[in-house]
């Protein structure tokens, strides 16, 4: 096989999207109370699920590249625009702390019956309209401090790719351990029964 197939056909993205939504739901990440409990350090599910997924996907893609069935350089890797991405990331963190969702989890929230997610989506449409209306004025920020095209941590530092896989794994393990300690001191994770009351 010669991956990526570069076929954005309906079936492939429908299936990947299905499992994306499914695994977010079964881990409880459609719940704004569970999502925001990450920021109060009571429930580390957001970090645990996200970093497990990053490690699994990053290691899998790297391995397939090493054995030669995946053209790693054909994958889409975002280029850094430092200030726009730092500002945007901070706005999404604030948006989640206030509103309880991010774009993907709002879809999961809505399709598990949460009507507050619909209002959040409405807010997003307003926010994106405001962004578009001010796009010309934001050009300076939008384009500031660009990095090299598609730069990875390995390219940034000159260190081997696998080393960062080990570091990310260590970060995930540390998050699980630290998380378990915080969770037991702060009333335990937010469970499904608590949310249904």
């Amino acid at each position: 096989m010669n991956f990526p197939i570069e076929n954005s056909g309906i079936l492939a993205v429908l299936v990947a999207g299905f499992f994306f939504g499914y695994f977010l739901e079964v881990s409880g990440l459609g719940s704004p109370r569970k999502l925001t409990a990450q920021f109060t350090l009571r429930d580390w599910s957001v970090f645990k699920v996200m970093f497990t997924a990053i490690v699994v996907a990053a290691a899998g893609l790297w391995l397939l590249g090493v054995i030669g069935v995946l053209r790693f350089d054909a994958l889409k890797i975002q280029t850094t625009f430092f200030w726009a991405m730092a500002m945007g990331g901070a706005l999404l963190g604030a948006g989640m702390a206030l509103g309880g969702y991010c774009p993907g989890t709002s879809v999961v929230g809505l399709f598990t019956g949460r009507l507050d997610a619909l209002i959040f989506v409405l807010g997003m449409l307003i926010g994106t309209t405001l962004f578009a209306a001010n796009f010309d004025a934001l050009q300076g920020l939008y384009m500031a401090a660009p990095g090299p095209k598609g730069q990875t941590l390995a390219a940034l530092t000159g260190l081997p790719y696998w080393l960062f896989l080990l570091l990310l794994t260590a970060l995930a393990v540390a998050g699980f351990r630290l998380g378990a300690r915080f969770e037991s001191h702060r009333g335990g994770v937010v469970n499904a029964r608590e949310l249904s009351e």
């Binding site: 990526p4 019956g113 807010g123 926010g127």
Partner: protein, 172 residues
């Protein structure tokens, strides 16, 4: 259904492995990762085209989306339909689907909805600024070790943690 207890959530490790495999599968088939915010941008373009076509056509951010046919005719629309179906199947098969306005016990419904709208506005502004969201940039970029993803994620968690000192009561 009402009196049946909801099943509890999966352990984060198991769900994270599943999510990682779904993300890897997306990369293998399409060459890019999972996303979410791009869909909402396209909804804005689509609604703008219907309601205020002159403004939308002249807008420098939205205009490029208009040149390639219907703004919703793109892979991300199908992916979001998949996300919705996955969330429905996951919640319905575990008795977790429930119509409600989720909020902390110390906040009223009206205040919760105002904050949901406000949080949505910040998110809708921030995601196109960052050129991606938690899944499109953070998760998918993270899987390719993109520097961009870690800039985004550090800012995301830092702002969430800081602001949470003010908002934590809302969710208790």
């Amino acid at each position: 259904m009402k009196d049946r207890q909801p099943q509890d959530f999966w352990p984060p490790l198991a769900a994270g492995i599943g999510l990682g495999l779904a993300l890897m599968g997306m990369f293998l088939f399409t060459g890019h990762g999972l996303g979410a915010n791009g869909f909402f941008t396209r909804v804005v373009v689509w609604l703008g085209e219907i309601t205020i076509p002159a403004w939308t056509g002249a807008n420098s951010y939205l205009n490029p989306y208009l040149t390639k046919g219907h703004p919703l005719n793109e892979w991300i629309s199908w992916e979001i339909i998949g996300v919705a179906m996955g969330a429905l199947v996951g919640s319905l098969t575990a008795q977790r689907f429930q119509f409600k306005i989720e909020r902390g016990s110390r906040i009223g419904i009206k205040a919760r909805l105002v904050l949901a709208l406000g949080g949505g506005v910040l998110t809708g502004f921030g995601a196109p600024l960052a050129r991606g969201c938690t899944s499109g940039l953070g998760l998918s970029g993270g899987a390719t070790l993109a520097v961009a993803a870690f800039v985004f994620l550090i800012a995301f968690f830092a702002a969430g943690l800081l602001l949470s000192a003010l908002t934590r009561r809302l969710w208790q």
